[in-house]
Symmetry: C2
DNA sequence: GTCTATAGGCAGATAGAC
DNA sequence: GTCTATCTGCCTATAGAC
């Protein structure tokens, strides 16, 4: 029965990922996966004991990859050269798992499964604190979070766009965000309305 | 029976928003909303004819606010001063509707309702093309998308953090991203591995 | 490996009493 | 306005034939 693909199992994973991204993990249904493949729900349950195993199987390798990267990463995260290298390798990983980045960035329901959400949360926290450095205070934390927005948003919001040619531009952008100075406070004045000089 | 709040209707909206953000629109259930308020599903359906009306009622004023802002916005989006003003007013709106920004940023299932998703998509497209300017090509488009990541990610990923003191820092960051130059291509060379000079 | 059939649960939504 | 009771439908998951 093999028409040309490796395995039914792989096809299930492929379709499941597509549907999870399009509708969200909880909203997408096993029946829908099965229908698209011209098989029945029961056939899917032969390959995966539960719906959650689809999610875990899809997401596992990506999260492993990130963990690996974070372990290897230079712990000198707050020196400019170290930060740049860190951002570069991270962006590489994100690009290689772009569809999963879309899933985890836009679907709360997949993050609400502790084995997934906890890992993502921990990884993000580690990465952000490496970028923020040990003594940056709140401002550095905000900058780190914002800098990751530079890397991730284009991956998620420009799905058709091949970003290979723009990687170093994005890295430069993230680096710029990490270096933005915090203007001195002016207590008593309206704090969030900035004057256009 | 009024303990101190205005109305049951408002309480329903309040709880619904909280649950939609926490679990995603489709995953959250009317029963859950009702339970939290100590009433029944039927009571909720007295105030709102369908589940979707909860979403639309919550999201409407925010989207109206954005539409209004975009209409008022100076069409000189690609001059630095105009861009800055645009980003400032946009960030203001996002901060005022921060919880809804969280919902729409992290829950695909709410965006899959056309009256919501279409508006959000259109607004984002308009804003991004204003920021990108008429003649920037793909690079400017990518920069615009990335710049919005600077504004939005901290709102969504630092929910506890009051960002009032960091607004101008975020604006500066977004402006910096919009100004990052695109390095000349070097065809034939590995395109996405950037050398650390 | 894939099927049919079905169990069991919970969702959104409605009818009608109070 | 809120209730109880109920309808209908889809979901995850399982049992057992082929």
């Amino acid at each position: 029965m093999r028409v040309r693909h490796e395995d039914t199992r792989d096809q299930i994973l492929e379709v499941a990922l597509e549907l999870f991204v399009a509708e969200g993990y909880e909203t997408a249904s096993i029946s829908e996966v099965a229908e698209r493949l011209g098989i029945t729900k029961a056939a899917v349950y032969y390959h995966f004991p539960a719906k959650e195993d689809l999610l875990l199987t899809l997401v596992g390798p990506f999260l492993d990859h990130v963990d690996e990267m974070l372990a290897t990463a230079v712990p000198t995260g707050h020196f400019p050269a170290g930060r740049r290298k860190l951002l570069e390798t991270y962006l590489d990983v994100l690009l290689k798992h772009r569809t999963l980045v879309c899933l985890l960035s836009r679907d709360v329901s997949s993050l609400n499964h502790p084995p997934v959400g906890q890992r993502v949360k921990d990884q993000t926290r580690r990465l952000e604190s490496m970028l923020a450095g040990p003594r940056g205070g709140k401002a550095a934390e905000v900058r780190a979070v914002a800098a990751l927005g530079v890397l991730r948003r284009p991956l998620v919001h420009l799905p058709q766009q091949d970003l290979s040619d723009f990687c170093s531009m994005l890295i430069d952008g993230a680096m710029a965000v990490l270096s933005v100075p915090l203007p001195r406070k002016r207590p008593g004045k309206r704090p969030q309305q900035a004057a256009v000089s």
